[in-house]
């Protein structure tokens, strides 16, 4: 059973490690990700203006592709997920807007697509128990702090994935992989998001607070589901920036830890683009390798 998959721009460029590891683990769990044909950028922000028809065109086009590919799509990028799910909610609640956009795109969308995040597929379809059973390299003793950021879970009334004040979905995923999950108070704070482009001092300050707190609570690594969070937390730690001075901790995607725990080949980990290399974390583990599901199946 394959799932329609929307990679989004960041996972095709800057965050390829998330994409590679995500596709590999999905394959290993027996539900390969099938990339949507002819997809384009989701717009990267859900429009909050009252007159937002222009900004809704891009997500609607994607949802039209989803409709043609079976009606259900999954994403890895927290921002794409956020934009697509909220656009879907909005179109469902505003049929007049859907009609207007359909008139413009000349590609009628039925308004009925289901948008999921891959974490929800894991929780609701694979289940944490099912995931734990597939783990060949339990990451026992690896202290990881789940970092949710803001867009994955908020606003909860629309996203309906988890409680942003007391989230558990990443915790449960990491626990299924055998990790020691570290709770820390900054787990659903903002990383500074797009201000990294226009006002980088702010995300650097926020990254510092988040990383400091995670480390104080004993984390060896941070785990996220968002490529922008990953960048904003990883990039300021690079040696030339001298932010932390020898106190660096790697920032991983949950799919990367899954690839390690499921015994997939290093090529599927996608860890070569990190500013702080996460691979030394696994040196003390005697990792068994099951194989590279992408290579064996294709």
């Amino acid at each position: 059973m394959s799932i329609a998959y929307f990679p989004g721009c960041t996972l095709s460029t800057k965050a390829t490690g998330y994409d590679i590891s995500g596709r590999a683990v999905a394959q290993a769990l027996g539900m390969p990700l099938e990339e949507l044909p002819e997809w384009q950028c989701c717009g990267a922000t859900f429009p909050l203006a009252t007159e937002n028809s222009m900004a809704l065109i891009a997500p609607t086009r994607i949802l039209t592709q989803v409709q043609k590919s079976g009606g259900k799509v999954t994403t890895l990028c927290a921002i794409c997920f956020h934009v697509l799910r909220r656009s879907q909610n909005f179109l469902e609640a505003h049929p007049e807007m859907l009609e207007r956009i359909n008139w413009f795109t000349e590609e009628p969308y039925d308004g009925k697509a289901t948008v999921t995040h891959f974490l929800e597929i894991l929780r609701d379809e694979v289940t944490w128990k099912g995931l734990a059973e597939k783990v060949t390299n339990p990451l026992k003793g690896l202290k990881v702090a789940p970092y949710y950021g803001c867009l994955l879970l908020r606003p909860p009334s629309e996203i309906k994935m988890d409680d942003p004040d007391n989230p558990t979905i990443l915790h449960d995923c990491l626990a299924a992989l055998g990790c020691e999950v570290v709770d820390f108070p900054y787990q659903s704070e903002c990383c500074g998001s797009y201000l990294t482009v226009s006002k980088p001092e702010l995300p650097h300050k926020l990254a510092n607070e988040i990383l400091e707190s995670a480390r104080r609570h004993g984390a060896q690594a941070l785990v996220t589901a968002c490529p922008l969070c990953q960048f904003n937390l990883d990039y300021p730690q690079r040696p030339e920036h001298q932010m932390l001075m020898g106190n660096e901790i790697p920032v991983l995607y949950f799919t990367q830890l899954m690839a390690v725990a499921l015994g997939l080949e290093q090529a599927t980990w996608g860890m070569d683009k990190h500013y702080i290399d996460p691979r030394p974390l696994f040196e003390s583990f005697r990792l068994s390798v099951v194989g590279d599901p992408l290579k064996t199946d294709h």
């Binding site: 409680d163 004040d165 007391n166 108070p185 704070e189 707190s213 104080r216």
Partner: protein
């Protein structure tokens, strides 16, 4: 019509109404679910804006209620049912008096049982600040000053019931009848008032008018996850801080942190915690928080002069006689720092509580490493008020407060003839307003009784 009134709830509203009616020569049946009367006012340290000792100004009234020949007081009691009689319009009230396991006629209130009881449990009255014994009165000034035994936590009663139900053997290993555990109070009571065989009793009373004064609760901290959700011991609500400040409280008025007993040097007060928050809390203003927060900050500064108090507020509402002046005193004379803005989040980091908020006057984010945080949580109706409303067919608003038949011109009359309303069950209000409203409701009852006399 029977010229007798039932008053449900013996907080300051119920007490005031009961005294007004009783002093006019009519009988009052006063029902309170707690073991003693006084309601939330008995929990307060001092009152605003005069800084009078709350217990001290209330005690003459509670004592008068306790001794009044026209007041039949049922404490530790609930309303089981109320029926309106067809013929004369009177109400037949069934009151459930919970078993106290102490014969109050024999008990002389000496307090030996409380002293000897070896078990402590968390006290709802002390709001987590201090424990109480399993046999307890709410305070040393309690009226009536008779204790009750909390059956759920009593070793004797639990083991007795276990034996009676066959869950544990009723004979010991030598074949002799086994004794229930503990029994310290039984052993030491000088008047033999302990009665473990006591059962709930149902009492029927007939009345011609009712005043509902069921009062308020505080918005639960569990619904404020951004403020710790009740899981951080040094983040307390307003009533808990009252118990810390109260000379008769568990710490004898010493301000210490619940977690480690240290004196807090930085205390943050957050107003409108769950109030004026239509998205996640209650949409209305709780009315008393601005003033009691100013009072608590002043009292804290008196107890800990080297400490610093911060108050986060949306805006300060100090409408009332002497209120604005009191607030100015907090800001100008007592050195309390007021920050206009909301706290977005707080969390525990080491032994500090990091409070993240905004100061919208200087347009900056503020972060305070506090030792303690006091949440002025919203005033909400008592959870039991909906049952009373159902029994009596009373109208409630969307927030669960009783609705007056005409909010402007009949503010104490309910939608049902013969039933009147007073106090915070109608909506948030302070002590003077509550007392005035209670006297208003009492006057309505009296005029009803008087009219009967004139027309009869």
């Amino acid at each position: 019509m029977r010229e007798r009134a039932l008053i449900i709830g013996a907080g300051i509203a119920g007490i005031q109404a009961a005294l007004d009616i009783a002093n006019s020569g009519y009988e009052v049946v006063l029902v309170e679910k707690e073991p003693s009367i006084g309601g939330h006012m008995a929990q307060l340290s001092e009152t605003f804006p005069t800084l009078d000792c709350s217990q001290c100004i209330m005690t003459p009234r509670t004592v008068e209620v306790g001794h009044h020949e026209n007041i039949r007081l049922y404490t530790y009691s609930d309303i089981e049912s109320i029926k309106r009689d067809g013929s004369d319009g009177d109400f037949t009230v069934t009151i459930r008096r919970h078993a106290a396991y102490i014969d109050w006629d024999k008990c002389n209130g000496c307090g030996t049982c409380q002293e000897k009881c070896p078990f402590k449990v968390e006290s709802i009255f002390e709001r987590g600040i201090g424990p109480r014994k399993v046999v307890y009165t709410l305070s040393p000034q309690a009226v009536p000053n008779k204790p009750v035994i909390d059956a759920e936590n009593c070793r004797y009663l639990q083991s007795l019931w276990d034996m009676q139900a066959g869950r544990i053997p009723s004979v010991d290993k030598n074949g002799n009848p086994a004794k229930p555990k503990c029994g310290a109070c039984l052993k030491f009571c000088p008047t033999e008032a302990i009665d473990f065989e006591q059962k709930d009793t149902l009492i029927e009373e007939k009345v011609g008018a009712i005043i509902v004064s069921t009062g308020y609760d505080l918005f639960p901290q569990s619904r404020l996850p951004e403020y710790g959700g009740g899981n951080i011991p040094d983040v307390v609500d307003g009533l808990a801080f009252e118990r810390l400040l109260a000379a008769s409280g568990p710490t004898a008025g010493k301000v210490i942190r619940p977690s480690d007993g240290k004196q807090p040097l930085e205390v943050v007060f957050i107003q409108c915690s769950g109030s004026r928050d239509p998205e996640r809390g209650m949409p209305y203003c709780s009315k008393i928080c601005c003033m009691y927060t100013a009072k608590q900050a002043i009292l804290y500064k008196h107890r800990v002069p080297e400490g610093q108090a911060y108050v986060f507020y949306i805006d300060v509402r100090a409408g009332g006689k002497g209120y604005e002046e009191f607030l100015n005193r907090a800001q100008e004379e007592e050195g309390v720092v007021y920050l206009r803005g909301k706290v977005s989040k707080l969390f525990r980091e080491g032994d500090k509580i990091i409070v993240k908020g905004a100061d919208t006057l200087s347009n900056r984010t503020v972060e305070i490493a506090a030792d303690m945080v006091v949440l002025a949580t919203a005033v909400v109706p008592r959870s039991s008020s909906s049952q009373i409303a159902e029994m009596l067919d009373l109208e409630m608003d969307e927030n669960g407060f009783f609705t007056a038949s005409d909010e402007e011109l009949e503010p104490v009359a309910s939608n049902i003839a013969g039933i009147f309303l007073a106090g915070t069950g109608l909506g948030p209000k302070d002590i003077p307003e509550t007392v005035a409203q209670a006297s208003g409701a009492a006057a309505k009852v009296l005029s009803l009784f008087q009219r009967e006399k004139v027309t009869a």
